[in-house]
Amino acid sequence: MEVLVYLVPLAITLGALGLAAFLWSLGNGQYDDLDGAAWRAIADDDPSEEASS
């Protein structure tokens, strides 16, 4: 059971990292436009021809 000495702090640290990442993304405005973000993921990066039409 000595393994708990490593595993418990490790698990809690991982959880805290997750929380920190969430708070960072929230402060960074990543939840401001959920609809747009969903589409950006599949948008083409290169400026295509139809844009100028």
């Binding site: 809690i12 929230l26 401001d32 436009d33 747009g36 948008a43 400026p47 844009a51």
Partner: protein
């Protein structure tokens, strides 16, 4: 045709040499639009960033200060096919957004704690039936306490502060039993941990907080979205005023940039965007948007003028007033104050439920403790069992039952063009048994329209419309709109007070007063048949035509009113307009109960009289004179064209030319209220099943956690059914 607008009010400096501008954009509704706009605007030199927010339908731009004129962006967007206008978020919107993100942060913390504690709880639950050393269990309990206590102290603050406010006002709301439950569960768990006991409820408490926060966040997010949308609409109205920047120089500036004390010019055909008093000029004005009275009145130096007034004949100079000290407005504000107070007495369903709920649960817990004491159990065991009763009944489902339905239903309403101002409006709208409509601007469309279009040859109509584009007169503007005219006739001149004229294919064409066009007789015939209409004559060479222009009823008004009547609602019309006009409208729409020439005081008196007889009234109106009545009624709606004050006090605002949203709102609200009641009953059934188990002293942390999530999920799933009503209507 649009005068250049001064954007400086909306520009924000970022860093040393960058400028930032937010634009509300109409017509962004797909990913394609988003990519197209961003790509094209990024191409403009000096633009460093162009980013569309698809949720809010807005565009944020940043560019290096100097070469680029902000108006170019609006023009470029117009070329791409999007109408855009700068906007600045209102105070309410900013606050709603801040509240939503604060709730999300607390939800994140609570969810993190819940997940980590779950990791510690599962071994304890399984360890209790197998072989876990008491020392290990204690260690896990202490770890849970270490995670949960700070997390709960932070994330449950919204409940604590709301409960505290309610208690200080000597009332009870939903948050009181929630807070008591959370605090007792945490305190007992801590105590149990200290005395090395077997059961701690840290996991149940933090999970409860997370579930409730999720419900609140959904609710808040819906409200934020509605606000953002309403903010866009306000921006796209693109209200500008012509301001004197010195004695004889004028400039078009956004209304938001106008300060009290400024002097603005209002030309014939323009609507005043401000309240103020006349300091120069004289004009006939149409105050139908404000008072519901369609007959024009005359203003001269010293007269008061309100936002929404249409100036008809001459240009006037206005000094903008801060708080309007004018009699009409202060009278209306006073009425409004009283009416809003009377509405705040309404008890929401959730409050009524918690008034019943809190005493029952707390008495049950107390009786459990006394019962176990009498039965010979120890004091400690009795208290533990009593607290278990509180935890298991803790209104997880109850707290979610109503917000979840409200969120889903307001989403459905949003989809059908109804924006809610307050969440509890759904309950009140579901209860109404009588609908009172205002006439002008509510049953009729706010803009004038040509009534005898079919009697006029298409080519004449077309030409008259093109000619009308050169006039600012509201009647001419109606002709231009009805003809769908786009290309103005070149070289048109204006004969002051008479009309406009020009030459087309070598023939003189005129649009203006019937006497000026030699069409008096035709005009008199029209006016005789329809005294409410305004007329404008058109002459080409020797052929003459007269357009009858009047307010048109909303296209589906008659259908909606008969549907409402079939739904068992009494429909009534109260208008400030003159009797013949109201009588004619009532007749054509099939409204049997109507009154004309009604003052704001009379409207309130009528609504209060109905309320005394037990009727619940839905008031639909748009004028400033309707604002007190809107606030006094059990529930209220305004069209999006309504005056600011009416929109602010109405429970809901509806979009578009149709009246159908009124019907939809009632239908959706009724089914939503049914679901809320169902959800409350589900919560009651859950409690009836769970409480005996708790009273018997059989609740373990595992049972508490499972029961709590189970009931929450059930209630959430039931709430989702409110979506389907939105799809059907």
């Amino acid at each position: 045709m649009q005068t250049a607008i001064d954007f400086s009010h909306y520009l924000k400096k970022v860093g040393s040499d960058l400028l930032h501008l937010d634009l509300a954009v109409e017509g962004i509704n797909c990913a394609g639009c988003m990519a197209k706009i961003e790509r094209n605007l990024s191409k403009i030199p000096d633009v460093t960033s162009a980013r569309v927010n698809l949720t809010d339908r807005r565009l944020a731009l940043e560019w290096r200060a100097g070469a680029v004129n902000p108006a170019d962006f609006v023009d470029r967007l117009a070329e791409l096919g999007y109408r855009a206008y700068p906007f600045e978020p209102t105070g309410v919107e900013t606050r709603e957004a801040e509240r939503a993100s604060a709730l999300l942060r607390r939800l994140g913390v609570a969810a993190f704690a819940a997940m980590n504690v779950m990791m510690l709880s599962v071994p304890v639950w399984s360890g209790n039936v197998s072989d876990m050393l008491p020392e290990q269990r204690d260690f896990f309990h202490w770890l849970s306490a270490l995670i949960v206590l700070p997390a709960a102290a932070y994330s449950a603050q919204p409940f604590f502060s709301s409960a505290y406010t309610a208690l200080r006002a000597r009332g009870v709301n939903m948050d009181v039993p929630i807070s008591i439950g959370i605090v007792l569960a945490l305190a007992m768990s801590l105590f149990e941990t200290i005395v090395h006991a077997e059961h701690a409820y840290f996991d149940a408490a933090i999970m409860l907080i997370a579930f409730l926060l999720a419900g609140r966040y959904l609710d808040q997010n819906m409200r934020r979205r509605t606000r953002a949308f309403a903010g866009n609409l306000a921006a796209l109205k693109a209200e500008t005023a012509t301001k004197f920047i010195n004695d004889d120089e004028i400039r078009a500036v956004p209304v938001a940039a106008i300060q009290p004390g400024d002097i603005v010019l209002i030309r014939p055909g323009e609507r005043s965007a401000v309240d103020g008093s006349v300091i120069g000029g004289q004009s006939e004005i149409d105050q139908s948007l404000i008072t519901g009275e369609t007959l024009p009145t005359t203003i001269r130096e010293g007269s008061a003028i309100y936002a929404g007034t249409l100036v008809r004949s001459g240009a006037v100079r206005i000094r903008v007033s801060a708080a309007s000290e004018a009699t009409l407005l202060s009278e209306i504000s006073r009425l409004l104050e009283n009416a809003v107070q009377s509405r705040s007495r309404y008890l929401r369903l959730a409050e009524r439920a918690s008034r019943l709920y809190a005493p029952v649960v707390h008495v049950a817990a107390l009786l459990t403790m006394i019962g176990w004491l009498i039965a010979g159990a120890g004091l400690h065991d009795s208290i533990v069992t009593a607290i278990a009763v509180l935890i298991i009944t803790c209104p997880c489902a109850l707290g979610l039952a109503i917000p979840a339905v409200q969120t889903v239903a307001s989403g459905a309403l949003f989809g059908s063009g109804v924006l809610l101002n307050s969440g509890d409006a759904i309950e009140r709208m579901a209860e109404v048994d009588r609908v009172i409509f205002d006439k002008t601007g509510t049953l009729t469309l706010p803009e004038l329209d040509v009534a005898n279009g079919e009697a006029i040859p298409v080519d004449v109509f077309d030409l008259a419309g093109r000619l009308a584009l050169s006039s600012r007169h509201p009647v001419a503007a109606a002709v231009a709109r009805a003809a769908g005219a786009k290309a103005p006739v070149p070289d048109v001149e204006e004969e002051p007070g008479q009309g406009v004229f020009g030459v087309v294919d070598g023939v003189e064409v005129r649009l203006g007063r019937p006497s000026w066009c030699g069409a008096d007789e035709m005009a008199n015939q029209i006016l005789h048949a329809d005294p409410e209409a305004s007329v404008v004559a058109f002459r080409r060479g020797q052929t003459r035509h007269v357009f009858a222009v009047r307010q048109r009823v909303r296209p589906d008004a008659a259908r909606v009113i008969s549907t409402l009547q079939r739904m068992g609602l009494a429909v009534e019309m109260l208008s400030g307009d003159r009797e013949p006009a109201v009588r004619a409208a009532a007749l054509s729409l099939g409204i049997h109960q109507w009154r004309a020439e009604v003052t704001p005081v009379d409207k309130i008196a009528r609504i209060e009289d109905l309320a005394r007889h037990g009727h619940k009234v839905l008031m639909v109106g748009d004028g400033l004179n309707d604002a007190p009545a809107l606030a006094a009624a059990h529930a209220s709606m305004s069209p999006v064209t309504a005056t600011h004050m009416s929109q602010a006090v109405a429970d809901a605002v509806f979009l578009g030319e149709q009246l159908a949203p009124v019907e939809t709102a009632i239908v959706i609200s009724r089914s939503a209220l049914r679901l809320m009641r169902q959800n409350l009953w589900l919560a009651v059934v859950y409690n009836v099943l769970a409480v005996p188990v708790a009273i018997a002293g059989l609740v373990t942390p595992l049972i508490a956690a499972a029961a709590m999530s189970g009931s929450s999920l059930l209630v959430m799933l039931n709430a989702l059914r409110a979506r389907h009503t939105g799809g059907l209507v």
